[in-house]
């Protein structure tokens, strides 16, 4: 944590600030705060229809306008962001958690297990990620939880690959040999000696994971897979809004911009954290 905070200060050697990290923190922070506040308060109920106020443009009353059923788009976006973020978090938790364990163990021990696992991982990685999630969705079903699990599993291979690569790199360092000579147990070497050296890469990968998870969830729900109306997630709402592109073009903007900002926040954070040591 201390290290994280110190990254906001000017770099002593180069005199530069980590702009990406600052921008990423501001954007992501803002979205997270709005979503958290949205747990207790939104300007309108996201499901309350008002037939007298259909498809209104941006105004002070409705900052993102209203939709085709007269619901307040901003309130719906806050609600949809909550679903998107929740699924993304779940996805990254599964992906990073399982991926780190699989990658660390196969990378460290090597052998047949490693060769087999990596074949499977490579085969999965070669598949386009959206297709992979579609395969799992068609196996598990199309509900919110199913989508979260499907996305989570499809994220495991990339985490496993990256962690394995890092562990392999560290494993060949002499300090691991030294530890082995002293009789340090394998698990202690993996988790106490090696893992602290790859936190930088891991944290940055997790942020990229969020970035990809938000994109993937939005894509799937745009296709109508995932949480169902009236509690729609962002992609779903965007798909609805597209039908009204003629009558109220600005309808898509609020929703689309939210997705872009959410992704941008995470991608900035990841860029910034690549400089984490």
């Amino acid at each position: 944590m201390k290290k994280f905070l110190s990254m906001f200060k000017k770099n002593k050697a180069t005199g530069k600030r980590n702009t990406y990290l600052i921008m990423g923190t501001i954007i992501t922070g803002l979205i997270v705060i709005i979503v958290l506040v949205g747990l207790f308060y939104t300007p309108y109920s996201p499901t309350k229809m008002d037939s007298s106020a259909k498809l209104q443009g941006f105004s002070f009353k409705h900052i993102m306008g209203t939709d085709h059923m007269g619901r307040d788009v901003f309130s719906r976006v806050v609600y949809g962001s909550r679903i998107t973020l929740a699924i993304a978090t779940f996805t990254v938790l599964i992906g990073a958690g399982l991926g780190t364990i699989i990658g660390a163990i196969t990378g460290y021990f090597g052998g047949i297990l490693d060769e087999f696992t990596m074949r499977v991982v490579d085969a999965m990685l070669a598949f386009p990620s959206i297709l992979l999630s579609l395969v799992f969705v068609s196996l598990f079903g199309t509900g919110t939880y199913q989508v979260a699990i499907a996305l989570g599993i499809s994220f495991v291979p990339s985490f496993a690959r990256i962690v394995r690569g890092e562990v392999l790199r560290c494993k060949n360092m002499d300090y691991v040999e030294v530890a082995r000579l002293q009789g340090v147990s394998d698990l202690r070497i993996i988790f106490v000696h090696i893992l602290p050296n790859i936190t930088g890469v891991l944290v940055s990968t997790i942020m990229i994971g969020f970035n990809n998870a938000v994109l993937a969830e939005a894509g799937l729900s745009f296709l109508g897979i995932g949480s169902q109306p009236p509690y729609a997630s962002l992609g779903n709402m965007l798909s609805d809004a597209q039908s009204y592109l003629f009558s109220r073009p600005s309808y898509v903007l609020g929703i689309g911009a939210t997705i872009v900002l959410m992704v941008l926040g995470f991608s900035f954070l990841s860029e910034g954290m690549k400089r984490w040591k």
Partner: protein, 264 residues
């Protein structure tokens, strides 16, 4: 003797950080035609930086260079980039410490050996270039040069790659060869062969050599004159035998003392 290179008051400063950092201060060097001069020093002494500056290979941003490097009537520090380039690889060549990484991994050996000819002798035809390359590769002691000509760097050992580097550097018959720790990454027996090769080329082609090393005993084997550097400054300079017999400065004495003595 004819002076072919005259470096005076060379001063190099890096500006990567807030505070400028001086890496070379008041470096002087007069190189006579056909002689071998050694520059010795530990890491951070500025020996490689001086060499890179002479070869015109220090990157142009984030640093300042002062002083003069006179070659062929031009100051290489201030002259036009095109003039500098016309000397690089043709009149002034350089070989480096890491033969494993100094060659382009995806280009054939022959292509890399001929490169200087392609750049500086545009009228030369392909056949002649190849003939010269094979000839040069033979004279640096490569067996089967025809075969090596079509190989890639990863197929060769470290010693062979350093020979290739030397062949590529010498193909334009330069006046000056700058060798930056050319044997440090090699085994002792290979090291001795490379040193022998450099001595032979110096004799046959009359190329002057600036030989940079951290190893005083190696300098003693090859060079006539030596410049001792420490922390960017020249500590002492003179004939190799004089310096070994009667080192003037404390640092030189320390360097000599660090060589384990063998009395058989």
């Amino acid at each position: 003797m004819e002076i072919i290179l005259d470096v005076t008051d060379l001063h190099i400063e890096f500006h990567d950080h807030d505070k400028p950092e001086t890496v070379v201060e008041d470096f002087d060097l007069m190189l006579e035609k056909g002689e071998i001069v050694g520059i010795v020093g530990e890491s951070g002494s500025g020996k490689s930086m001086s060499a890179l500056a002479i070869a015109g290979l220090l990157k142009r941003h984030a640093l300042t260079k002062n002083g003069r490097i006179m070659f062929d009537g031009h100051d290489l520090l201030t002259c036009d980039r095109d003039i500098l380039r016309s000397y690089q690889g043709d009149e002034i060549s350089m070989i480096f410490q890491e033969p494993m990484t100094s060659l382009n991994p995806v280009k054939k050996i022959g292509w890399q050996v001929e490169e200087s000819l392609r750049i500086h002798h545009k009228d030369m035809d392909k056949k002649e270039r190849k003939r010269r390359a094979i000839e040069m590769m033979t004279s640096v002691g490569l067996r089967e040069p025809e075969k090596v000509y079509n190989m890639y760097p990863h197929e060769l050992s470290g010693g062979m790659r350093q020979r290739i580097m030397i062949a590529a550097a010498m193909i334009g018959e330069p006046k000056i060869l700058i060798a930056d720790e050319p044997t440090t990454a090699l085994d002792v027996t290979i090291q001795a062969q490379i040193v022998e090769l450099l001595r032979k080329l110096n004799k046959e082609k009359g190329t002057a050599i600036i030989f940079i090393s951290h190893d005083l005993s190696l300098i003693r084997q090859l060079c006539q004159r030596v410049i001792v550097m420490q922390a960017g400054n020249i500590v002492e300079t003179g004939k190799v035998e004089d310096i070994f017999r009667a080192p003037q400065m404390a640092y030189t004495r320390k360097l000599i003392a660090a060589i384990p003595q063998i009395d058989l």
